[in-house]
């Protein structure tokens, strides 16, 4: 499950400008449980493709200790890459499921 959300770095970099490199980099960095990373042969900095029925996006990943981020849970500072995976159906509420996205993770070979 992918959870896009705020981070301090995302907050400071958006003040510089959302079209600037730092913001793009921050919103393209995925946090992933280190045990999950090992299972699919990932190390910090590797590129992965996130995909679901809505779309796909390519991001870099960094490891988080299993006690901080549970198995199967991914976190990314929200921005254009996470929007690519967001369902537009709001179930009559106005709110898309912005923090509850089921995605597939695939390692991109160098």
């Amino acid at each position: 499950m992918l959870i896009p959300g705020r981070s301090a770095k995302q907050g400071t970099s958006l003040n510089q400008g959302k079209l600037k490199e730092e913001y793009k980099e921050v919103t393209s960095t995925l946090e992933m449980n280190t045990d999950d990373m090992k299972k699919i042969g990932l190390v910090d900095g590797d590129k992965v493709r996130l995909s679901n029925d809505i779309g796909e996006t390519v991001v870099s990943c960094i490891g988080k200790k299993p006690e901080d981020l549970s198995e199967g849970v991914l976190f990314i500072p929200y921005g254009p890459p996470s929007s690519q995976l967001m369902e537009s159906d709001t179930a009559g509420s106005g709110m898309p499921l912005s923090k509850h996205m089921m995605v597939d993770v695939e390692k991109i070979k160098n």
């Binding site: 981070s7 301090a8 003040n15 079209l19 549970s70 849970v73 106005g94 709110m95």
Partner: protein
């Protein structure tokens, strides 16, 4: 004092510096109004923001005067007047124009946006619909036991954060309002409070928590409902741990703490509103706060994101009767989330023109909504270039609220706070642009009514419309 600090001080003394005391930071919903800004008047930039958090420092440092045109039509530089004319024509011609955004501008500008939307019989919605919109629905269904942040500071001895990470999103929430400040009945600050954090991740906010509870993702509603049952004395099976990831004894302990505190508060974030359950999650939390008032004083407050998103709720509510997702197509306001909210008006292909004020749906909305936005004429008002300004038919670069312009904003607890600007901008502010668009829209509508041979009564009604 180190040599480096001393040099910095001398450097500042040699500059043309203005000090603005009690300025307000409008980056997040805390809208801290104790800033001391040191403004370099020659360079037109803020060189120091005393009392600001890491986000506030970036907000003040990065909002400088950009060398860019004040107005563009299809990417070509035009005068502000020409852009106003094109914006007004675009909105009046449309059959389903939408107004969206408004969370990073003054309440004075928000009022103008409502007026324009009323004139053009359009649809107005704010970023609330993709933030705490579900909480807005829950307020209507369940009610809200509320308080100001000042009451929290002075009275709260049990503070629960649910589904949020204030350490990174609202860094001063802990120090200014809810965790460490010393209040009237909390003279020892954090020592007088118990802090509970409920989140699926162990975030930086966990550092302040006395108790950390981590439900399985998507199980907030079940945890909240179990707490409600326990508060009411209904027994719960130990299987609750299998379902939610939270052991029964942890829930029982929390219930005892909630029932026996003197003043409890539940601060909740988008971990509840943006996940499965949406308004049911917020509603369950609000109902829990209400239940607890059988035993003690308990309140619940949403932690709001943008600097004046709370103002947007207030202004749209007192002008239309509803907080967001409001449609004027029949000549009177109608509220229907899921139909008149912006992700829906765009994704369903309803909107045929848009006016986006101080927000960036071109970056943060679902792909389908962004695709539709690319296919309709869009008027954008923003201080910086974004994915939304890139797709604009008419784009205005505007002054930054709280830095270049005064006005009013609402803190996340609905307390209104005045802004004290630091330095002037060559760009007009949102209110000025919107007033000009409103004036021109009004003229065009009167002209259109004339050419259609509107009745005298209709003309009078249009002319005296109290906008």
């Amino acid at each position: 004092m180190t040599e480096q600090k001393s040099n910095k001080k001398t450097e500042e003394q040699n500059k043309n510096i203005k000090i603005v005391k009690d300025a307000t930071c409008t980056f997040c919903g805390c809208v801290c109004d104790d800033m001391e800004l040191h403004v370099d008047l020659d360079e037109k930039r803020i060189i120091k923001a005393k009392n600001a958090c890491v986000l506030g420092r970036a907000w003040f440092a990065e909002h400088t005067i950009e060398d860019a045109p004040a107005a563009l039509i299809d990417g070509k530089e035009v005068s502000v007047e020409e852009a106003v004319e094109e914006a007004a024509q675009t909105l009046v011609k449309a059959k389903f124009p939408i107004t969206y955004g408004l969370s990073d501008t003054t309440s004075e500008a928000q009022k103008q946006a409502v007026a324009i939307t009323d004139y053009i019989k359009g649809n107005i919605d704010t970023t609330t619909s993709v933030c705490h919109g579900p909480s807005g629905l829950a307020f209507q269904g369940v009610g809200e036991s509320t308080s100001t942040l000042g009451e929290v500071k002075n009275r709260a001895d049990l503070v629960i954060y649910w589904g949020g990470n204030p350490a990174e999103s609202h860094p001063r929430h802990f120090g200014r309002y809810a965790v460490t400040p010393k209040g009237m009945f909390t003279p020892n600050g954090k020592k007088d409070r118990t802090i509970v954090l409920v989140d699926v991740r162990k975030t930086k906010s966990a550092g302040v928590a006395d108790i950390l509870i981590r439900p399985k993702p998507g199980k907030d509603f079940e945890v909240l409902w179990a707490l409600r049952a326990l508060v009411k004395g209904i027994s719960i099976s130990t299987d609750i741990e299998k379902e939610t990831g939270v052991p029964l004894e942890v829930l029982t302990d929390l219930v005892e703490r909630m029932k026996n505190c003197r003043f409890g508060v539940l601060f909740f974030g988008m971990g509840l509103t943006m996940t499965r359950g949406r308004h049911f999650n917020s509603g369950a939390l609000l109902a829990l706060a209400t239940d607890l008032n059988e035993y003690t004083h308990f309140v619940a407050k949403p932690v709001r994101g943008h600097g004046n998103v709370t103002g947007a709720d207030n202004v749209v509510s007192w002008q239309t009767g509803y907080p967001f997702g409001v449609n004027f197509s029949r000549g009177y306001p109608r509220f229907n989330p899921g139909e008149f909210t912006t992700v829906d008006t765009l994704s369903n292909g309803d909107a045929d023109a848009a006016m986006i004020i101080a927000s960036d749906p071109g970056s943060n909305f679902p792909k389908k909504a962004i695709e539709h936005l690319k296919n309709i004429p869009v008027v954008v008002l923003d201080t910086k270039s974004t994915d939304t300004t890139k797709l604009a038919h008419v784009a205005f670069k505007t002054a930054t609220y709280g830095i270049n312009t005064g006005g009013t904003v609402y803190r996340m607890d609905d307390v209104s706070i005045p802004l004290r600007p630091a330095f002037e901008s060559p760009f007009p502010d949102d209110e000025t642009i919107l007033k000009a668009i409103k004036k021109r829209v009004h003229e065009l509508i009167l002209k259109k009514n004339d050419s259609r041979g509107a009745s005298g009564e209709a003309k009078v009604a249009a002319a005296v419309n109290p906008l």
